[in-house]
């Protein structure tokens, strides 16, 4: 069955719950190299995004745009502009439709990756969320199964353990950032999981 705006609202509800659950874990991760607040940003951002979409009538694109605005204004920080841009691009990919084939969520994942690159100017290997989003997007475009897309994201996030941060708050930590996964990459995997869950939910 196609993806409806109600399905999209439900997806943001799941994302909001997920981030609330993982808040302290993500903060701890951010504490190793960054400023310890990533979990708070993602919790508040997804909560605001969910609130925004529930209050919005319109197309899938309208909902993604509302989510982008809600996320950005609630959060700021690095995650705010990055996910706001990602969600705007996701909206463009979904387009002014009331429903779309769930398989089009592959384009949504790729569009989010593109938005993050556009806003953050990072490249894979810099120990950022992109290290999860990029392999996920490539897998999605290559027609991989939802599970395989999640695995790609997860492997990308795991790989950040061996990277030295070269972007954002946690830049130039040398050893201390080594050995710990990038919090933004870890939260990215969770988002990819929820999107792929939605993609999977045929019938």
């Amino acid at each position: 069955m196609d993806l409806t705006t109600d399905d999209l609202v439900e997806m943001f509800r799941k994302l909001s719950v997920r981030m609330a659950t993982e808040r302290d874990h993500l903060c701890r991760l951010d504490g190793f190299a960054g400023d310890g607040d990533h979990g708070i940003a993602m919790e508040q951002g997804m909560q605001a995004a969910h609130l925004a979409v529930t209050g919005t009538e319109g197309s899938l694109q309208d909902l993604f745009n509302a989510a982008a605005k809600g996320f950005l204004n609630a959060v700021g920080a690095s995650s705010g502009p990055l996910y706001a841009t990602a969600l705007l691009r996701a909206g463009k990919a979904a387009g002014p439709r009331q429903t779309m084939p769930r398989d089009d969520l592959r384009q949504v994942i790729a569009a989010m990756r593109d938005g993050i690159v556009h806003r953050g100017k990072a490249e894979p290997g810099m120990k950022t969320m992109l290290d999860a989003w990029h392999p996920a997007a490539e897998a999605a475009l290559a027609g991989a199964s939802p599970d395989a897309i999640v695995t790609a994201a997860q492997e990308g996030a795991d790989a950040t353990r061996d990277m030295v941060a070269a972007m954002g708050r946690s830049e130039r930590l040398g050893e201390r950032s080594l050995g710990h996964a990038d919090p933004g990459a870890v939260s990215a995997v969770m988002i990819v999981e929820e999107i792929c869950g939605t993609m999977r939910a045929e019938a």
Binding site: C27, G36, D37, I40, V75, G76, P81, R169, E171
Partner: protein, 335 residues
């Protein structure tokens, strides 16, 4: 599960908005907040027709930075973010529009990935409104990167904002204010030492762990890792380690004048800062540098972190005059 850190707060998620309410209630003669702009504060005096609007901002948790420096002779407005989080673009736009005097807007803030992305979006939005906005990033944290352009902005903000604010208060054009701001930043050098972790109002857990008996030289004002961790040493040795690096970076010739800031990261009291200062002035005398002005106290904090930072600004006549310019802010007054 240890007890939450000791804080006089209510709901951690409400901390910033409650703090703002308390600040506006305490300083009505200095600050006001535009309607529908809950995270923008504007100076009562200061913004005026034909004057460049200096708009600063960043995450909360560094008080009196940023909004304590909004006032006549210094910043015209500030955009307030969540704790340790850049404000989104909207508050920066709200602050800029409220302070705009038709001579352009200068955004100044510390060089952090998040702040750059959000303020750049704000600049784009202002452009659409037909308001010219330029940006000068502060990059005074010597410990944060070998490459000056990639360094973070920390306590040196006080001097850098002060110089730019004085230039704007003298009604200099945007080009001049921007030039002075870059000049001030280029000559400002800060290095800190942390004696304990801060903790966020939402988590009330130490953001990182720094065992008792240890210190971290060069730690950032959000707990970003520094350059060296080791046993806590006597104040004079800590000062010497920091001053060695600052003096080498600044490379000022004998006879030069500096402005000096001995800053508390939050939990370190004045007694310790002045004990540090006693050693700092010895080191400056040895380097044949004279101190034009000294600030001592909590100017750029990191929530409840224990520790301190030392800032040196290498003065020339222009900068000295701008630092001497009077200012009247809710949390910083001079002249």
């Amino acid at each position: 599960m240890t007890a939450p850190t000791q804080k006089l707060i209510n709901d951690g998620n409400a901390a910033v908005d409650e703090m703002l309410a308390g600040i506006l209630a305490a300083h009505p003669e200095h600050l006001w907040r535009p309607e529908h702009a809950p995270r923008a504060v504007v100076a009562r005096q200061g913004p005026r027709k034909g004057k460049v609007a200096l708009v600063i901002g960043g995450g909360s948790g560094h008080e009196p930075t940023f909004l304590g420096f909004v006032g006549k002779g210094l910043a015209d407005a500030a955009a307030i973010g969540n704790v340790f989080a850049s404000p989104p673009p909207q508050p920066a736009v709200d602050a800029a529009l409220a302070a705009n005097g038709g001579a352009g807007v200068l955004f100044m803030y510390g060089n952090y990935a998040g702040d750059v992305m959000n303020f750049d979006m704000a600049s784009e939005m202002l452009e659409m409104e037909g308001v010219e906005a330029r940006t000068v990033l502060t990059t005074d944290d010597v410990a944060s990167h070998p490459d000056r352009a990639k360094r973070r902005g920390v306590a040196g903000n006080v001097f850098i904002f002060k110089a730019a604010g004085a230039a704007a208060d003298r009604m200099l054009p945007l080009d001049e204010v921007e030039r002075i701001a870059r000049h001030a930043n280029a000559r400002t050098f800060t290095m800190g030492v942390a004696l304990s972790s801060c903790s966020l109002p939402q988590t009330r857990r130490p953001s990182f762990d720094l065992p008792a008996g240890e210190m971290e030289i060069g730690m950032g004002i959000h707990g970003e890792a520094g350059v060296r961790r080791g046993p806590l040493r006597p104040a004079d040795e800590v000062v010497d380690e920091i001053m060695d690096l600052l003096l080498a970076e600044m490379a000022a010739p004998p006879g030069a004048r500096v402005a000096l800031l001995v800053n508390s990261l939050g939990a370190t009291p004045l007694m310790e800062l002045y004990i540090m200062n006693a050693r700092i002035v010895q080191r400056l005398q040895q380097a044949r540098l004279s101190v034009h002005r000294t600030l001592v106290g909590p100017y750029c904090t990191s929530l409840d972190m224990a520790g301190a930072s030392i800032t040196l600004m290498h003065l020339d006549d222009e900068l000295a005059g701008l630092l001497d310019h009077p200012c009247d802010c809710a949390m910083f007054r001079q002249g």
